[in-house]
Structures are given as structure tokens and as C-alpha cells.
């Protein structure tokens, strides 16, 4: 066996042989394991939350919105999955003799809703000249206890006169879709009916992309093609910019805060090493007298501290991985009946991120090396004479 490994093994053993050394070492290991565990887990959950929120936004909202009343054909952009001209407006509604505010949203034709809501049944739809046909969501239908064929009154603010007036029109439900809409109080009608019944509205084009994360690039392509749309194109990432930034900021500040945990637990290694080296001072002096190089002794003690820390890192990483796998691969959160519906996201937000693992482990190993290196470095800077002298 090489002498370095012989000594490392010897001192490593001596740490765990005596209670005076093993208890602080075990505390270091646990402290490091806990810090690594929480850092990995918290960041994975934060990242998971970020991913889920983005997924939710991507699924619920168009990826690019263009404010224009004109018609455009984007079919030549092959990154654009679909585009729809639409409008949105708010109206009053009287249902069951109660007043409420609803949003009305335009679609090209009712059949286009079928793409997202396969259960929508439009067979009974027959056109009426004095009633505005609308499709409502399942939740709306439940909330007001209304279904196909039911009629109601809509109140439309009319600003075309000097004194604003309220126009009353009649509407009826032609279909109930099963879209789980963000907005319960939303009615769909076609752009054409809307123009006939409600009048002029500012409309816009909603675009859905094959890869939502390329929304900025596609936006720029659109602007390049249609210069007049320069200030009218906005994509989902820009709309939610401050939210995403806030989540990122939150992640960074938590990461910094939890990194301090690692630093603090690594300092326990520092003090362990100080006490180990002070105990072994005379032995170290003897080793130097017998021909050991100071640098190789610094290496020996650095490696001992490093191994102690490494055990902590391995334990922490191991348990963090187990927990992440348990959550992502099994149904444990549901089985524990933890209710997450409040957050409006599906499933527990956690992701396995190799990048996080890499940086967290790299950072902690660096800190551990520094805190194992410094004690032996300071001690071995002293001259041999003082190393072999006994301090009684």
C-alpha cells in the first residue's frame, strides 16, 4: 500500500474510532446531507413549479397575440400550428333573474371549438334571426343550471351616442363544451354573429405554435414579414415576463440562502479538521522528520476532510433523488391525499434537473475541499521544530 493511502486510511479510521472525533464527524455528515437534500429538493420543486406554470399558460392561452382588425394568412409559417381571428368583450347577463358579467369570445365558426372539445354536440343547432347563438363551458352550465336551448338576456353597453346606452339582446345556448376553461363565465360565439348582434369590436389574431418556447423568434419572423404589425405582436413569454422573472428571482434567492446552509455545515468539517490535526500535531511532526513532504501531508488531511464531506454529499443526494423519484414516478402525493387543486396545476410540481445536481454537488465539494484544506495548510506552515515540541 502506498504511504499516502496508508495514512489516509489510518486517520480516517481514527476519526471513527474515538467518540471525541466521531460524533463531530457524524454531525458534519448529517449537516451536509441535510443541506444538500434541502437545496436539491427545494430547487427541484421551485423549478417544477416554474415548469408547471408555463405548461398551464401554454395550454390555456394563445402563444402569440396580434392586435388587428385585418385578416392575415400565416399558413406559410410552418412553426405556426393554428391561428384564429377572435375578439373579446364583456357583457352583462341576466340569468335566473340575477345579473352577472360574462366575457364573450369570438371564434371563426362553432365547428372550430370541436377541435378542442370533441363532445360538443351541435346537431340541434338551428339558426335564429333574433337570438345570438353561444356555446358555453361545462362549468358555466353547472353554475347556472342552464343547458342547450335555454335562453337569456344580454346587456351591451353602447357608446355610439353621446349619452351611453344599454342595448338588450337575446341569446340562447347551442352547445356545452367540455373545455376546462380558466374563465368560467365565458361564452363563445362566431365572429360573424358577434358583428351582427353586438356590433363593431376590436379583434385580434390568436396564434398557437408547435414549439411555444420559440414564440419570440416566430414573433420576429411575423414582424419581419408584416412590417405594419411591429407594435401589435406580443408573445406569451413577454406578457408573463415579470411573473417568470419573479419566479426566477425567488429561485435564485432561495438557492443563495440554502447555499449558506452548505457553507455553515462545511465549517463543521473545518473545526473537525482543526481538532484532529491539533491532536495529531506531534505525529505530523514525526512524519515530517521521517521524510514526509508537507504538501503530501496537506493532501492527506485534505482528503480525510473531503471524504467525510463526501459521505454527507452522497447521503444527501441519494435521499433527494429517492424523494424526487418517489414523487415523479409513483402516485405517492395522491395516495397521501395532499390536495393541490388550489394551485390550479396538475400533479406535484417537481422536476429532476441534472444541471441543478451538477452545480449543487460542484459547489458543495468545492466548499468541502476549502474547509478541509485550510486547517492542515495553516498548521503545516509552522516549522518542524514547533510541530514536534509538546505543548503540555
Amino acid at each position: 500500500m502506498r504511504y499516502g493511502s496508508l495514512l489516509i486510511l489510518n486517520y480516517f479510521k481514527s476519526i471513527f474510532d474515538s467518540k471525541a472525533n466521531s460524533i463531530p464527524a457524524v454531525i458534519s455528515i448529517i449537516a451536509i446531507a441535510i443541506s444538500i437534500f434541502s437545496l436539491i429538493l427545494v430547487l427541484s420543486v421551485m423549478k417544477g413549479f416554474d415548469v408547471k406554470v408555463k405548461q398551464k399558460i401554454i395550454a390555456s392561452f394563445p402563444h402569440i397575440i396580434i392586435k388587428t382588425n385585418k385578416e392575415y394568412d400565416f399558413s406559410r409559417f410552418n412553426e405556426i400550428k393554428s391561428f384564429n381571428k377572435t375578439f373579446e368583450s364583456y357583457l352583462g347577463i341576466i340569468l335566473n333573474k340575477k345579473f352577472d358579467i360574462v366575457q364573450i369570445k369570438g371564434v371563426k365558426d362553432f365547428n372550430s371549438i370541436k377541435k378542442v372539445s370533441s363532445k360538443l354536440d351541435l346537431n340541434k343547432f338551428n339558426e335564429s334571426k333574433d337570438h345570438l347563438p353561444v356555446v358555453v363551458g361545462r362549468n358555466f352550465s353547472h353554475k347556472y343550471n342552464k343547458t342547450i336551448g335555454d335562453k337569456f338576456e344580454l346587456l351591451i353597453p353602447d357608446f355610439t351616442h353621446r349619452k351611453p346606452k344599454i342595448k338588450t339582446i337575446k341569446g340562447y345556448i347551442v352547445g356545452v363544451s367540455d373545455i376546462s376553461d380558466v374563465n368560467t363565465n365565458r361564452l363563445y360565439t362566431t365572429n360573424k354573429y358577434a358583428k351582427d348582434f353586438i356590433g363593431h369590436n376590436t379583434s385580434f389574431i390568436e396564434i398557437v405554435l408547435t414549439d411555444p418556447f420559440r414564440s419570440k423568434i416566430v414573433s420576429n419572423l411575423i414582424i419581419k414579414e408584416f412590417k405594419e404589425l411591429k407594435f401589435k405582436v406580443i408573445d406569451w413569454q413577454s406578457v408573463n415576463f415579470s411573473l417568470f422573472n419573479l419566479m426566477k428571482l425567488e429561485r435564485i434567492s432561495l438557492a443563495i440562502f440554502l447555499s449558506f446552509l452548505i457553507v455553515i455545515s462545511a465549517t463543521t468539517i473545518y473545526s473537525n479538521m482543526i481538532s484532529l490535526i491539533t491532536q495529531k500535531k506531534n505525529e505530523i511532526g514525526t512524519l515530517i522528520l521521517l521524510g514526509s513532504k508537507k504538501n503530501s501531508l496537506i493532501m492527506v488531511f485534505t482528503q480525510i476532510g473531503f471524504f467525510v464531506g463526501l459521505i454527507g454529499v452522497i447521503i444527501g443526494t441519494f435521499f433527494a433523488t429517492i424523494v424526487i423519484l418517489l414523487i415523479t414516478k409513483t402516485n405517492i402525493i395522491n395516495n397521501l391525499s395532499i390536495d393541490l387543486s388550489f394551485y390550479g396545476i396538475d400533479g406535484f410540481p417537481i422536476v429532476f434537473s441534472a444541471t441543478y445536481y451538477f452545480y449543487i454537488i460542484l459547489f458543495s465539494i468545492l466548499i468541502i475541499i476549502i474547509s478541509s484544506l485550510l486547517p492542515s495548510y495553516f498548521l503545516l506552515k509552522k516549522d518542524v521544530e514547533s510541530l514536534i515540541r509538546r505543548d503540555y
Partner: protein, 217 residues
């Protein structure tokens, strides 16, 4: 001439421990340095063993100034290999067996194979063959002293410097040890320098120096 000390002074702060000392040691000498406690014996031996530096004066180790040697770390390590150091401050590493403790200089210098025969000879001579696998905590102080001696000699040094080799030893053990040293000196022509205040011991050496009030005579 192996070692040559000229006009050497060592002082700690204001306290002069060695005062303009002259000393010459030739190959094959068996020297004892005697003197009361606190007279500076260990201080002198530490300088001779290239552990510490003098305040002024010169010390030539095998013809080279110790200042030159101490300034060059690799040179220093190579020079120390020529000295076997045995002192009561030397430690045995508690978790290593007696065998590994004695072989430690071989582990460190990466020359275990070359010293194997020397090792066997030494443990026979020191009569510690049956202690090889013991841990240092389980051996007596006389045995410990012999183990330290074996370790000091395992690299076949030209010079053995021993600081109070017989402290903690009873009469028979002390006499055994000094006989052992005399044997090594006779047979292997190894140069030996010991510091002691044990009269039974120094009378057995060829040259005796007395150290008092910082002066050697």
C-alpha cells in the same frame, strides 16, 4: 569530517542557550553530550539533525552549510535520510502496527523493498520480532524505545542522533540499549550522537562532551 560546528550560537529571544560552540564529529564516533536539564542538549541535537536553525555561526553537514540545506526542501529531505533521529518526542502512529511504524520511513520514501532485509535484521537485534503486529499502545516503554531505535535505523543512516534514548527505562533496559548502540557502532561503523544525563550510559561512549552555561567542553 562528518559534522563540523563553528562558533555556533543559539538564542531564544534574549536567552542564550548555546554560546559560540565548537564541535567536530568524525565517521565512526560514538559521542555523548551530557549536561543538566535545560542546558541546551536538545537544542544542540535539533540543530545537528537539521530540524532547527542556529542564531549565528556555521554548521556544516557532510561538508555543506546547514543554511543551504534548510533553504532547499528537497535537499533537506535527502539529507535527513542520512540521519536516523530518535528522540523521546518522536511519536509512534497509534493506529499502525509496530511493523508499519518501523517501516514508515520506507513507506514515505517509497523504498519498502530495499529495506526489508535491514528491517528483519533490526527487529531480531532489538528482540521485538514477536511485537510486530502489536499496536503501540500495547507495548512497554523499553520496547517502545527499541521500536523507535529500529525506525531511526531502518533506512541505514550514516549518523544516529538520539535524544535521551534511555529516559523512562529501568537499569537493565537502559544498559541493554546502550550495549545495542555500542554494537551498532562497532559493527556497522555508524556514527552515534546521544544526549543524556544518565551516568550509566555516557560512560560507555567513546567521546563525552559536557554542556553547561551554553559552553561545550
Amino acid at each position: 569530517m562528518l559534522l563540523e560546528v563553528k562558533n555556533l550560537t543559539k538564542q531564544y529571544e534574549n536567552k542564550v542557550v548555546l554560546n559560540e560552540i565548537e564541535l567536530q564529529i568524525n565517521e565512526g564516533d560514538f559521542v555523548s553530550i551530557i549536561g543538566p536539564s535545560g542546558s541546551g542538549k536538545s537544542t544542540l541535537l535539533n540543530i545537528l539533525s537539521l530540524i532547527s536553525n542556529q542564531t549565528s555561526g556555521t554548521y556544516n553537514f557532510l561538508g555543506e552549510s546547514n543554511k543551504t540545506i534548510l533553504a532547499d526542501y528537497n535537499y533537506l529531505i535527502n539529507s535527513r535520510k542520512k540521519i536516523g533521529i530518535m528522540s523521546n518526542l518522536s511519536e509512534l502512529i497509534p493506529d499502525l502496527s509496530i511493523k508499519d511504524n518501523i517501516l514508515l520511513p520506507g513507506y514515505i520514501g517509497n523504498c519498502l523493498n530495499e529495506i526489508d532485509s535491514v528491517y528483519k535484521e533490526l527487529i531480531n537485534l532489538a528482540n521485538i520480532v514477536n511485537l510486530q503486529n502489536e499496536k503501540p499502545i500495547n507495548i512497554s516503554s523499553g520496547e517502545r524505545q527499541r521500536v523507535l531505535l529500529c525506525r531511526a535505523l531502518v533506512l541505514n543512516p550514516e549518523i544516529l542522533i538520539a535524544d535521551e534514548p534511555t529516559s523512562n527505562l529501568d537499569e537493565s533496559n537502559a544498559l541493554n540499549l546502550i550495549e545495542h548502540l555500542a554494537y551498532l557502532n562497532n559493527k556497522n561503523n555508524i556514527t552515534i550522537i546521544i544526549a543524556t544525563h544518565d551516568q550509566r550510559i555516557y560512560t560507555k561512549t567513546k567521546i563525552i562532551y559536557g554542556l553547561s552555561n551554553g559552553k561545550l567542553n
